[in-house]
Homo-oligomer: 228 residues x 2
């Protein structure tokens, strides 16, 4: 029974990857670079987007906002006058805890791909399942807040291992926490040595300029040239 | 296709509930009251247990520690000289993002039920799926950290709606955050009016005494008398 369950999961992930590749081909044809932005609930994904989305130099940014329910974050981002499309994962009891490639595919027609250069897909707040499902992204960025503790790379290794950039957020709070930043970075290197990382604070703006430049550099490469 | 998916999900939840009832019957027979403790990653479940688990007056506490991988939290709690059993959800790629009734059932034989009065099941850090799966608990307690923002009850309503107590943790950081506690409590009342809530800080110990007393009161009632 256990073996059967593993096979069903693998089949589902294979099917997801096939659709993710189709999404990515469509994004490439439209010349749109895609970021899959992930984190635990409340780590600051939306706040970090608010800081940069309207002002990446030379790059038109759009957001696909994934939530179980509601449109609180989409409304925050729409106030920046950038195109925002809401995707809710709750067709039934409880809702899905992650976006998958098929959900993103269902939103393709609603995305203004001709009007943007960079699409940020803000995933559901969760450190487990979003890491398992590619959605057609060029790169994966994750946010880890210093309030969550230093042990998170060891407890959620797949998420930290499969991302292309780690944003360490809320560093304005470091003076008020028993958080050992060096230990976090050591744990991060245990699961993903040398992954690029940036220390920043969406609240104070410290470090945000580097995150904006990283997005600009990413978008100004062709999608075909971006990391797989 | 959509309707079929909903039915499969409902069938799976029905099967889970059947096993959860069997677990609960076994816990009742052993005279053990069971708490399902849930939160986002890094909200402070383990730290709040460290504060109380060894010293609930007149109550022998045990912990079933749920994690995707590893045993970091179990080792922290074992240092308090209470019985701790580790349950990992990662038999395959990525791991499950929640505990379900069958996983808890598989751990029953390893639990020292004759030696404890209160079992705290520390769930995987996640605000979505753990709320959908009963595991045989008498009550559900969730931790919401003030660092996560005031909007979480609106974004993860099932979790906040189905719990019996909300622990609002990390209140020592309130002076350093743009967090409106009244707005959080208002949002909480929108999805679960009058649910008991406690403000506390695992770091400073503020408010922890009320949490310890709540656990003592719960365990000293018979399991049959606890809320369903």
């Amino acid at each position: 029974m256990h073996r059967t369950k593993v096979r069903i999961v693998e089949d589902a992930l294979d099917a997801n990857n096939t659709i993710a590749r189709a999404n990515r081909a469509d994004f490439d044809r439209a010349g749109v670079t895609v970021v899959n932005l992930m984190s635990a609930p409340g780590a600051g994904k939306t706040s970090l987007l608010e800081r940069v989305a309207g002002e990446v130099p030379g790059v038109r940014v759009g957001v696909l906002e994934g939530d179980v329910q509601g449109s609180i974050d989409a409304e925050r981002l729409a106030a920046l006058h950038i195109p925002v499309t809401q995707l809710n994962t709750d067709p039934s009891f409880g809702g899905e805890c992650h976006l998958d490639a098929n959900m993103v595919r269902s939103a393709l027609a609603a995305l203004p791909l001709a009007e943007i250069d960079l699409l940020v897909i803000e995933n559901v707040g969760n450190l487990v399942c979003p890491a398992e499902f590619r959605v057609g992204e060029d790169v994966r960025v994750m946010v880890s807040s210093v309030t969550e503790g230093e042990d998170k790379p060891l407890k959620y290794p797949l998420m930290f291992r499969t991302c292309d950039l780690v944003l360490v957020n809320k560093i304005d709070l470091l003076a008020h926490l028993d958080y050992d930043l060096d230990r976090f970075l050591y744990n991060l290197d245990q699961v993903h040595p040398d992954v690029p990382r940036m220390l920043l604070s969406a609240r104070t703006g410290e470090g945000v300029e580097a995150w904006r430049e990283w997005l600009a550099d990413l978008a100004l490469r062709s999608p075909q040239g971006a990391p797989a």
